[in-house]
Subunit: 334 residues, 2 copies
């Protein structure tokens, strides 16, 4: 039986970046990565930004190894190990007690290589796409077809949302073991084809992730998670269902602002918005005021980039407005 | 009887600036200026920053007039008129139905001149000192000795806190007519003689006062007013009573940050903190971390200045640290 086992197997996957419009900030369980509130995101097209990961398993490999953008990285990282362990557990469960001799041995060492087609340090939710891709490629390698967003969540919370295209909710869940803290597709991307996402890439600034400091010190974050987000999530689902850009954009901006407000209410305070972000925010509000309704909406994550939502017919004009407002020295390329 | 009336009377008063450590932001009644939460401030010494106002009444004056820092201003401003009306009402009440022929006629026109010894546009709560001073000088002119913080509140909410020295609470009050929305001295300035206040004056930036927009749009401000501030106010009173700088400073910083968080949660968002404010905040946290406890505390109002609290023995060292961190081009003079 041993001789019939495959000696080498390889798989490749890609995974997309997602942009939250109802933000995730704060865990109620840091080990299982269970959030204090549900969140909702828009998954970007993979033709612009994606992660590509290849995994190979072989009986000839003597150790697990991992490369990120061509540089060897620590395969022993607890979150990488959590993903590996969980996918293998699902594979074992799937095979049951029987010996599927055609299946790849779960004891083989693996080599994993992952590449982003965007700057990793740019705060572009790269860990979300990265872990979604890692889990997908491992599942393909081991022939696992189960719901995998729960596993991706163990790599990076928001990675679970990159397991689906279109509009995706990561539901908070209630169970202490996290089995109901999953991503669910709210609508496929075909649901709202006119919606566009612009990413204004800024120079990365160093930022320490202070999510748990916020949970421990911000009274406003607690209120946000318990009271504000549940209402907003229901509202956002309705705006998406109705393809209501006015409602979608307004709420996306409000939620981005509230997320940054809870960062400021953290002690010591966390700042992600800079004077440049303020100018982009002011520009978006001026642009909308000029047109008398919401034509563009901004959202800012825990990093330096601005993300702009607009409908297809607005993109060219707004890009021109941004070009004119920000000289080449301060704006990015994309 | 008419001939016995005084033909001219004059009075001069000064009033101090106050710095809130539990912030006021948002009115529940914009006409009576009733706040959504109680607030607490430290009144500054008048040897550094004060307003001086002189008022004269004469039967020879043909109209009411007002000068602010040497420039004539609109005496018909509703808030100026509210203060005038309320002080005259108290004077009338005091005199009862009788004719006090030695008293200044309430029907004489008045001339008022007010001077700040600090830049008016610098956001240094100048309207607080200004209205406190206006009410004090009118009260002196008309011989009114009643509790006047309620009247000062009608000029500018925080002006009621400038009617007392030391540590002052502006209690929210419950009555719809505002008669219990008063300032009360928590402790005199002699209670904590080592406490120092540094004002780092920055160039003013234009800012629109968006207090009522916050009340209407920020869910976090509502939670702050209803839940967070009542707890914090009790804590702050205890820290002051115990002269506990660690507790006082920590809470002052947290409350400043939370106030700015609610500004950011306002829609459209309001920004008072700039990249320079962020640097001062980071500097204060680094300085405290270096010393292993809270030696300095910052607070920022709806304007460009940073205010630093420290005990007397820390001032010289921290001023030196600020001087070294901010080249003359970016720091102020004081």
């Amino acid at each position: 039986a041993m001789a019939a086992e495959r000696a080498l197997a390889m798989a490749t996957c890609t995974a997309p970046v997602n942009i939250a419009v109802i933000k995730y900030w704060g865990k109620r369980d840091t080990d299982l990565i269970l959030p204090i509130n549900s969140s909702l995101s828009v998954t970007l097209h993979q033709d612009q930004l994606k992660t590509t990961t290849t995994a190979a398993a072989s009986r000839d490999f003597t150790e697990d190894r991992l490369w990120l953008n061509g540089k060897e990285a620590d395969v022993g990282h607890p979150r990488v190990q959590a993903c590996l362990r969980e996918v293998r557990r699902l594979a074992r469960k799937r095979r049951g007690g029987g010996e599927d001799t055609a299946a790849l041995s779960l004891s083989y060492k693996i080599h994993i290589a992952s590449e982003n087609d965007f700057p990793t340090a740019a705060g572009l939710a790269s860990s979300a796409a990265g872990y979604a891709c890692l889990v997908s490629v491992l599942a393909r390698l081991y022939g696992v077809e189960e719901e995998l967003s729960e596993v991706a969540r163990r790599g990076s919370g928001s990675a679970c949302r990159s397991m689906f295209g279109g509009f995706v909710q990561w539901q908070r869940g209630e169970r202490p073991d996290g089995t109901d803290s999953l991503a669910l597709q709210v609508a496929p991307e075909t649901h709202w084809p006119e919606l566009r996402v612009l990413v204004l890439v800024k120079k990365p600034v160093s930022s320490t992730a202070g999510m748990q400091t916020s949970v421990e010190t911000s009274p406003l974050l607690k209120h946000r998670a318990e009271v504000v987000v549940p209402e907003r999530l229901a509202q956002m689902m309705r705006h998406i269902r109705e393809r209501d850009f006015e409602g979608f954009g307004q709420l996306a901006m409000r939620d981005s602002n509230q997320f940054h407000a809870t960062c400021l209410d953290t002690f010591p305070p966390i700042f992600y918005l800079t004077d440049l972000s303020r100018h982009i925010i002011a520009l978006a509000h001026r642009y909308n005021a000029h047109h008398g309704h919401t034509k563009v909406a901004y959202t800012f994550d825990a990093g330096p980039n601005a993300v702009i939502f607009a409908l297809a017919d607005t993109v060219a004009e707004f890009v021109e407005v941004v070009r004119r407002s920000f000289p080449p020295a301060t704006n990015g390329d994309q």
